[in-house]
């Protein structure tokens, strides 16, 4: 069985599993990191959204064998603890302030998407627009979309240069 090594939430991990198993299942079923959720398995619902090297990606659509040893995967569990911060990421705090979650199933993915969006517009030296919010593909079957929009804007404003 091949050994797969990558960095997960700041720590190097090695797993014995076939190359073609998607990262989502390596995280959830083998490493028991269950923040990223299954909602479709085909990169549509975005419930599993996490970060690879600081950008949003969907682990349901990446073979574990395609990860490099130096690739840094961040799941919702690792969002706040990076950079030595132990409390909440500003985006998580915005989510709490707006009491966004209902069932909560999609929210880890929503938050990881929101953080990536905030970083993207920062790279583009602009702020989040209604069009950016309209383009978020993450499904929320509880229909929390209105509060998500409010929280994304609030969280992005609160994010510092290292967030």
């Amino acid at each position: 069985m091949p050994k797969q090594t990558f960095i997960l939430n700041g720590k190097s991990v090695t797993v014995n599993v076939a190359d073609d198993v998607r990262v989502l299942w390596v995280l959830r079923d083998i490493l028991k990191v269950t923040g990223p959720k299954y909602g479709c398995g085909i990169n549509v619902c975005k419930a599993c959204t996490s970060h690879v090297n600081g950008k949003a990606f969907n682990p349901c659509s990446v073979k574990v064998g395609d990860l490099k040893r130096t690739d840094e995967i961040t799941t919702i569990e690792g969002l706040a603890t990076l950079d030595g911060r132990k409390d909440l990421h500003p985006m998580q705090q915005a989510w709490i302030d707006r009491d966004v979650a209902q069932c909560g199933y999609c929210q880890p993915g929503q938050i990881m998407e929101a953080v990536a969006l905030a970083r993207r517009v920062r790279r583009e030296r602009r702020s989040i627009t209604e069009a950016d919010l309209d383009a978020i593909r993450n499904v929320c079957r509880c229909g929390t979309y209105t509060r998500i929009r409010e929280a994304v804007v609030q969280g992005a404003r609160a994010m510092g240069p290292n967030d």
Binding site: V17, R22, G41, I96
Partner: protein
Amino acid sequence: MTSTTVQPAEHPDESGRGLGRRRFLGYVLGGSTLVTAADLSLGRAAHAAGIKSAPQVSEIYDLEDLQTDAALPTAQLIQIEINRDGTASFAIPRMEVGQGIVTSTAMIIAEELDLPVEKVRVTLAPARPELLLNQLTGGSNTTFSTYTPIRVAAALARGALIEAALPLLEANADRIQVIAGTITNIDTGESIGFGDLSEAAAWPVDRISEVVLKEESDFTVIGTPRNRTDARAAVTGAKEFSMDLDIPGALPTMVCRPPTLNGTPERLLNRREVMRMDGVTHVAKTSRGIAVRARTFGQCIDAIRAMKVSWNAGSVEGESDETILAELRGAELPFTPLTQIPDLPLGNRTLEIDCEFMFRSSAALEPYAAIASVTEDSAEIWGGLKVPILAQQDIAQMLGMSQEQVTVNVITGGGSFGHKLFSDHAIEAAECSRAFGNVPVRLMWHRADEPRQGRLHPMVTSRVRAATGGGLLGGGRKVYGYEQRNTSVVTDFSHGLGEMITSISADDLPLNLGELTYSQSIFLLTQELGYDFGAVTQLLNEVDDRFNTGSMRNIYSPDTRVAAEMMVDALAKDARMDPMEYRLEFLRNENTKRALRKVCKEGNWGRTMPPGTAQGIAIHREYKGTTACLVEIDCRPATVNRKIREAVTGPRVTKGVFAVDAGLVINPRGLEAQMMGGFADGLALTLTSSVHLKAGHFLEASWDNYFYTRQWNIAPEFEVHVLESDRPGPGGAGEAGVAATAAATANAYVRAMRIDPTKQTMRFPVNHDTSLSAFTPKSFVPPVPVSPTNGLKLTR
């Protein structure tokens, strides 16, 4: 535990404001720490009285009453425990699915106990067979039915703690105060915490005790907006759903399902090949397909895609939307002859509305999922289950065990929307565990399985006819008769709500529902038109039980209300009146008028809007409450034809204003959240989301096929107004946001599009026919799509 029946010490008075409403009996249970209990059936207040003329069934006795009354004959104790660490524990016999009952229940207990909400631990009770019908989460009934008993148990605990504290503090009862879980002697300043009193307040044997509940005017927790108690867990990934539980040995399990609806497996033709696949541990035939257990779900998917299976025919081979619709059309009930409508003047006119509502999937984002660990003589289940007792019974029967041999743990659900009223997933998990030779399994449905083989909201037609007046001197305003005839594919109520009806003898029901089917009874118990339209009848007729259906959030109401409110707009137009003014003239209930006035004021009703855009309004009455909604819609080509990858865009609701009178509100923030969610559902029902039946199977298999409301569909502007209520107790909230939204959206749509709905059949969702071209159906063999591998090219 004693079997004494608990009754209110005094009969509740009708006004609901006197002392009698607040005085109850409950128990202090024998034990080493303080445990108090109240009978869950205390939740029932006196029937509403004083309805003056020809009420519909649901005005005097509705689904809330039915669910609450179903429990009356049994003593069903719920308990609050005061722990040594100063916290209080309560296991609610209901399921949290996102609707916020864990939070609101903690608030109710905190209020009555004078304990901080953070110190109240609310968990979900496992299946408790002794609760019989009183462990069903549905019909927006949780707070309505549990509010009083929970308060009684909490107030008893507070009383027992005070009683124990008095000698220790050397205080008289009138010289102490209770604040935030601490009892203080006002004169000496000495104080003692609940935790330190837990043992002293305990009694060696059960005793019955009287208690007076707090005055509502003294509430400081109830009615104050509060964030969810699980908010932090939800945003850090710590909140656990069924598939996140680490049950030893419970490996991922999925089922290869048939290519047509409800087909059954004949044989797996390449078993040896599948067994050799990487990670696969077990393969077995089950009643609904071929199950596979593997190290990861990804390997289950791979195995399913490799399976070669011979299948038996399904339940609707060859059928399509058109054939089912034709079947419904053929079963439609006629309207009453006009000659039988009282006082109908000569020169009367009739208006008709004819609507078709297509099949919709009620699936949540968390697909059906459950863990099962079955042995020769026991079974333990973990899953999101709204009727866990029925799951326990069904699983016991399937496994040939007694009910006591089956433990059913209720896990917080990732949404439900009526989907988890059924226990299909738990039963299937137990079946797989047994079929594999009694090994633990973690069963999950693939997303593709949900719209294709899962529970649906049935296809419905709704026809409305209103007979209006002779046109003489304003007579045209009056409506002499309103008739609504819904014809539907059968809604499956075998999850327990149906049993509730049969458990109540016909004599106890205010009107004779005894001769009706489950579905017809529930229809009558939920539908209240709300307008003074003369002779009003709303009837349901059902045909065809071959589909997997269920009571999707708000059950019959959105469809019924859409057709009804379109008729109200048509009547207003006929009377040359403004739709708001017309409603205000004919609405029977003052609270409904108030809600309507509120949304019209806040939403600037009647403002001038560009061609292709319009406002729409609607009201709804249900769950002991009332709602109103105003929307603005944009149907201009630039909006309708927006291009978003793999999406249905279509008309966009650009603004939503919602008002709700839900009676006493426990948590306004939670109530607003439920209206917001219901609003998103209402948009989906009217505009975008449906499944298409073709050649015996449903085509949808993905969230990019089934067009539930997405960010590009949601209204950029949305506000909720929670109205002060003159009703004393709480109503229902979980479903209350859907119907008025769906109807207001339909009304706005036809106005913007300049459609006269009395002249043409309306099909909902309006995008049903065009959304077919928005996706290519995924394969039926294999029944699940391959997971992509290009994710690293799509980072963003």
